[in-house]
């Protein structure tokens, strides 16, 4: 069974899954870095993105490219709105208040989608140009696979440049290190936090579109498990660190795919247990995650 082709196929799968986890984990880690909020509604931004793409293609019959870009922008807008309406009023309240609010938003989205769109999973019919397969030797790749990896990488590079080079990016890093000092330096933290939420939600939205394209289904709860796994990825990489989230995402993608590919057949159902076991091991060895920094006192 262990032919080079099989191995290459698994690597492609791992790159795909890793790219998606990384996109989702980045948003979690950005928001956590600034607000110390574990955003449980983050996975549901994927769900929103996926439904929006479905609607855009099925109802509006717009071109495929727009089915990627529009959900990203719209979900980014939802992220802004949620921050403004739900989280900002809680600024200064204990962190657990925001955490519970994020759970509420998550169930609001899940149940809202169930009530209006039913819990029935909807099939995603990939447009023909994405469903095509390309043969490289014996390896057969879907165009969708290439799109996922290329788009994810492009977005990550763009984000990296933004965070590294622009003043807002510098402000974002400053806020995640010391929010109070950033305020004293004249940074409008509300603006920085709003931008972080928008980017975070937008990336999750586009990840949702890609996820539904890859796995072919959209339902109201589809974001939950990938959201949880992305959280694991962010923690493994060192929560608060963007490169850490990317590393953790790919690591998790590879670990999961290779586990399923090479574990004895009876065990592949334990993939999620394996992921969490991996998390435990990493945290035992490096409590702050692979690239994480020890928490500075934010008194």
């Amino acid at each position: 069974m262990l032919t080079p082709t099989y191995l290459a196929q698994q690597l492609v799968n791992a790159l795909n899954l890793g790219s998606l986890y990384a996109l989702v984990a980045i948003g979690l880690t950005m928001v956590y870095g600034i607000l110390r909020l574990i955003n449980f509604a983050h996975g549901d931004m994927m769900t929103l993105g996926a439904y929006l793409a479905l609607g855009i293609i099925a109802l509006l019959a717009l071109p495929v490219e727009l089915a990627l870009v529009l959900p990203m922008l719209l979900v980014a807008g939802v992220g802004l709105l949620v921050e403004r309406l739900a989280y900002r009023p809680l600024r200064g309240a204990p962190e657990v208040a925001m955490l519970i609010t994020s759970l509420a938003i998550s169930s609001l989205i899940q149940n809202g989608a169930t009530m209006t769109l039913t819990a029935q999973p909807r099939p995603v019919r990939l447009p023909s140009q994405l469903a095509q397969r390309i043969a490289i030797g014996e390896l057969s790749l879907a165009v969708m696979d290439l799109v996922i990896v290329a788009l994810a990488l492009a977005l990550m590079v763009a984000l990296g440049v933004f965070v590294k080079r622009t003043t807002i990016g510098i402000a974002m890093r400053a806020c995640s290190e010391n929010l109070r000092a950033a305020q004293l330096m004249g940074v409008d933290v509300n603006r920085v936090i709003a931008i972080a939420f928008a980017i975070s939600a937008g990336l999750a939205g586009v990840a949702g579109v890609l996820w539904s394209g890859k796995f072919g289904l959209v339902d109201p709860f589809m974001g939950f498990v990938p959201g949880l796994k992305a959280f694991v990825a962010a923690v493994i990489g060192g929560i608060g660190s963007i490169p850490g989230a990317v590393l953790g995402g790919y690591l998790l993608g590879f670990a999961e795919v290779l586990f399923v590919a090479f574990a004895p057949p009876g065990l592949s159902g334990y993939r999620d247990a394996f992921v969490f076991a991996l998390l435990l091991i990493v945290l035992l060895v490096r409590p702050a995650g692979l690239l994480g920094q020890r928490e500075v006192n934010r008194a």
Binding site: T167, I170, R173, A174, R180, Q183, L184, M185, D188, V296
Partner: protein, 234 residues
């Protein structure tokens, strides 16, 4: 220039500032001295907007600022160099300085201020690309002051600039503070080192448990027997 009128601040149930009255005039160096927990840092944080007075008024050039968010207070011309330096250790020296000018759009002006900071602290120019966390304690304090200057303040709040530094570095920092005053900067200085603060300042306030216990010219306070006994080591 800056007036605090009967300012009360609470941390939860703890009454930290109990009716502070304080005034800083243009061109002055005013020192706040007092023991740990007297409310010196709390006073500065309240002026900067990180803490809110429950009662009382703070005006800057006649405008009430006690309900403005911190970033708008910075824009009005008050910079705060906080206790313990609080530079961004994961950012480079240059990024720390650029960040503090984030709201300014006059590029040539920002460039001039950058050169001024580098003239005051030439070591920062050499280390501009270095990650700030790798600087020595003295260099970090220089960066903290330089960073505060990048918003081109008219009033500079300095919280314990000499804390934990070698005597030679302390001397350098105090020389810089004196030269800032010579350029016309107004400064409100919080210091544990009362002796040094009173030498530099024009006027001073002595805080005790959240209240102004004594005030006057720095010279008079330095001669005051009570101040001598409590803060200047007899």
């Amino acid at each position: 220039m800056l007036v605090l009128d009967n300012v009360h601040v609470y941390y939860g149930h703890i009454h930290a500032l109990k009716g502070i009255n304080l005034r800083v005039d243009v061109g002055e160096i005013v020192a706040l001295i007092g023991s740990n927990g007297a409310g010196k840092t709390t006073t500065l944080l309240t002026i900067s907007g990180l803490l809110r007075p429950r009662q009382g008024r703070i005006t800057f050039d006649g405008h009430a600022i006690d309900h403005l968010p911190p970033h708008q207070i910075v824009r009005m011309g008050i910079a705060h160099c906080p206790e313990g330096r609080q530079i961004f250790t994961r950012l480079s020296v240059m990024e720390n300085l650029r960040l503090a000018a984030i709201h300014r759009h006059d590029v040539p002006g920002v460039q001039r201020d950058l050169e001024r900071v580098f003239a005051l602290f030439p070591i920062l120019a050499q280390r501009r690309r270095q990650i700030a966390g790798t600087l020595s304690g003295g260099e970090q304090q220089m960066l903290a002051i330089g960073r505060a200057l990048m918003s081109r303040p008219r009033l500079l709040l300095l919280d314990e600039p000499s804390l934990g530094l070698a005597p030679l570095v302390v001397e350098h920092i105090f020389r810089v503070i004196a030269s800032l005053r010579a350029e016309g900067m107004t400064i409100l200085l919080v210091e544990q080192n009362a002796y040094q603060a009173l030498q530099l300042a024009d006027r001073a306030y002595v805080l005790e448990t959240g209240q102004v216990a004594l005030q006057g010219t720095a010279r008079a306070l330095a001669e005051n027997p009570a101040v001598k006994a409590a803060y200047l080591g007899g």
